[in-house]
């Protein structure tokens, strides 16, 4: 069976989604979803081990060798992202059961899990595929499922947020379709590896440049690159808690991966940096989003919305790493894919527990919780420290590489912005900590007890990961550095 692993990675959640829809029973749906997520994680880890020596696994669907058929290509880069996505799923799916009891009407639970599995399958598929058009199809699967999941939020604002995301996301998808179409016009192929070979001699083509522009903008919409980010805060703030957690930890990561894949795997580093000077755009946009998103996060009353803006700032860091265009920078980006998934995962899950007990997640709901929900708030604090970039947490590792990269480049203002933004992060995390630990609980709010174990356990698994990979970072940095070197190839 091991030759089928790449296909199974996506097909398992995809087909099980139809299976649970067929059974139409919430408990079965939940159990099957959790099992699927664990299987996916096992497969992803197996794949990562298989490609650790730098080899590439190719899987040709329908027995037609690429470029005639569709192929999956697994290398170290996407196996790494597969582990992130399925790992987060494996932790959050078990969490979801208790959490959605409080937020989603019971009649919709089966549909919730169907959409969740489709979303997972789409994200995994986007990551693993080696075919540019297949990427678009899987992107749309995950997008449609995501719009559905967001719209399940309790507040009516989740509806308008979902609609806004639907419009922006579809524009993004159509831009990507356009970019792929232009590439196809030039080369006659859709397979990414084949594309990379054939666009080599076309560097100066204006059509190629337009294709690059459309793909970058299209993916930029999906990853909420400033100023295309307008959909993200609303979507993350109003979706059901566990959906916010899952999306924040995975969706943007896959979009960043897609940007990397198209930039380096299709167009090539020479074209992206040498011909298009994408680094100038990325660095400037990234700096703006890091600073502004951090400041806006500081102004938020809803903690979920605050974390959403903080996510925008974190996306800025990842783009910054790409823009710095050296091995340390890319290493930082790759590490941050992994690390940000861990820390945002913890923060959003902690909020989900607050929501579960108090029915809300604004600053007001959190006041005085430090004593009433000690484990929940402790998890939040660890996540917050990691977000700030305190040593012994994962956040420190990626920031360290990012600062290193900016110093290597000699771009001092960039270093300064990173430090200032970290200070702002200290401030907005502190606001929550202050309210939770040093403020009395308002008299009109009921006292609450600690969240149940079925919620705490997944959250603390992530907390442990935050600390473990913060202390023992050799595995992740090893992979990230390896991949960064491969991606940049001859540029340095």
């Amino acid at each position: 069976m091991s030759m089928h692993l790449p296909a199974l990675q996506v097909i398992i959640p995809l087909l099980l989604a139809a299976v649970i829809f067929l059974f139409n029973n919430a408990r079965i749906a939940y159990i099957v979803s959790v099992a699927a997520s664990w299987l996916c994680l096992a497969i992803a880890i197996q794949l990562l081990l298989l490609v650790n020596d730098g080899s590439v696994i190719e899987y040709a669907f329908g027995g037609w060798e690429p470029p005639w058929g569709i192929a999956y290509n697994v290398d170290q880069l996407n196996a790494f992202v597969l582990v992130i996505v399925s790992g987060i799923a494996a932790i959050m799916f078990p969490f979801s059961w208790r959490s959605i009891q409080a937020e989603i009407p019971a009649s919709l639970h089966v549909l919730f899990y169907t959409a969740l599995l489709l979303c997972l399958a789409g994200l995994l598929g986007m990551t693993i595929t080696g075919d540019a058009f297949n990427f678009f199809v899987l992107l749309e699967i995950s997008s449609l499922a995501t719009y559905t999941l967001i719209s399940l939020g309790k507040d009516r604002r989740s509806l308008s947020a979902a609609f806004q995301y639907l419009i922006m996301g579809t524009i993004g998808g159509t831009f990507i379709l356009l970019g792929v179409g232009l590439l196809y016009t030039l080369t006659g192929t859709l397979n990414m590896a084949d594309l990379a070979e054939r666009i080599g001699p076309l560097q100066a083509s204006r059509t190629l440049q337009a294709a690059f522009a459309f793909l970058v903008v299209g993916i930029g919409l999906k990853l909420a690159m400033f100023p295309l980010h307008l959909w993200l805060p609303g979507a993350y703030a109003t979706a059901p808690s566990v959906v916010s957690a899952f999306l924040a930890a995975t969706a943007t990561k896959v979009a960043v991966y897609a940007l990397l894949r198209f930039m380096f795997g299709v167009f090539g580093a020479d074209f992206a940096y040498g011909e298009m000077h994408v680094e100038l755009m990325l660095v400037s946009l990234a700096l703006v989003s890091v600073l502004f998103a951090s400041l806006i996060a500081l102004l938020q009353r809803g903690v979920k919305r605050m974390l959403a803006y903080s996510s925008l700032a974190q996306i800025g860091y990842m783009l910054l790493g790409i823009g710095l265009a050296n091995v340390s920078g890319l290493t930082a980006t790759l590490l941050h894919l992994f690390n940000h998934a861990l820390m945002k995962g913890v923060l959003f899950l902690a909020l989900a527990m607050v929501f579960y007990r108090t029915g809300g997640s604004s600053m007001r709901h959190m006041s005085g919780l430090g004593r009433q929900m000690p484990w929940t708030m402790a998890a939040f604090v660890v996540g917050g420290l990691s977000l700030i970039g305190v040593p012994l947490t994962v956040g420190f590792i990626s920031k360290w590489y990012l600062i290193l990269a900016s110093i290597e480049r000699g771009w001092w203002p960039v270093t300064a912005v990173i430090l200032v933004a970290s200070l702002i992060a200290v401030m907005y995390i502190w606001r929550v900590v202050e309210v939770a630990y040093f403020k009395e609980r308002p008299a009109d709010l009921p006292t609450v007890s600690e969240a149940p174990l079925s919620l705490l356990l997944p959250t603390w698994t992530l907390v442990a990961a935050n600390i473990y990979f913060g202390i023992n970072a050799s595995v992740t940095t090893g992979i990230a550095q390896n991949v960064a070197q491969t991606l940049l190839g001859g540029v340095q």
């Binding site: 296909a7 299976v19 829809f21 598929g125 699967i141 196809y184 016009t185 030039l186 006659g188 059509t207």
Partner: protein
Amino acid sequence: MLAATAIAVIRQHSLFAIVMLFGIYSLLSASIFVVLDAVDVAFTEAAVGAGISTMLMLGTLVITGHHERTPKHGPVLPLVVVMLTGAVLVWGTLDMPPFGAADNPVHQHVAPRYIEDSPQEVGIPNMVTSVLASYRAYDTMGEVIVVFAALVGVLALIGIREQKSPRPVSTTDDKPPRPVLQVMAKLLIPYIMIFALYVQFHGEYGPGGGFQAGVIFASAIILYVLTFGLDDAYALVAPSVLRPLAALGVLLYGGTGVVTMLMGGTFLNYSVLADDPVQGQLYGIIAIEFGVGLTVATVMMLIFYAFISRGEKAA
């Protein structure tokens, strides 16, 4: 003409007129697809754009009302964005290979194999079907999943009233009977269904296939709903029957892939299904096309049911 219709769509304020114009726009673009030799695409665009989409939009208008207020903010920023995007595109076309030339790179690399070898390798003359159902069968499975995902979304959002309405048969009082229409529909519907079956199983030879057949089949039921009302349609095909069928279509497609895996091929490699690879291809294509047709037809019906039953609830 297309451009004129598009501009009319922008200028109009009555949403009802806009939706109608959009239907016309779809038909026009379908005819352009025919001119460009894309008969399968034209078929689908006509059925989807002028048929399903327009119908759903009308269904939505019933609920939301159909007048648009004039926008308050100025059109400057959008215009700038649009101009910029357009400029990048026009810039991009400057180095595009000339329209229609047979030696363009698109026609050189991958496509010749589809054109020259597919009738032998896959064994059916319609190359679009060969590519769709065999060479790029995995994309098509994704497409079925997308349709399925839309169903999941629509059900989660607006749901379907599962039972017949609580007050039986009283609907005839407030609605005028439409004998001519009903007789016409009764006459037409069987033919539409037979046509759908023809399109389903003839897709290997002429334009058509599971998707188009599914849409046509669904439109027969939609016609039934429109003339006889939702309750009678429920008596004919209840949503509780359609729901599992929608999932089964997906599973039939995926299951075919799993079977090919178990028989030693890669996912969706039909050649292993029979001793003779070409025969195997045929079996595989028939199976997955049926899966496509099943899911598309049931999903379209369910989505339509959902819109209509929501509209009745609102009214």
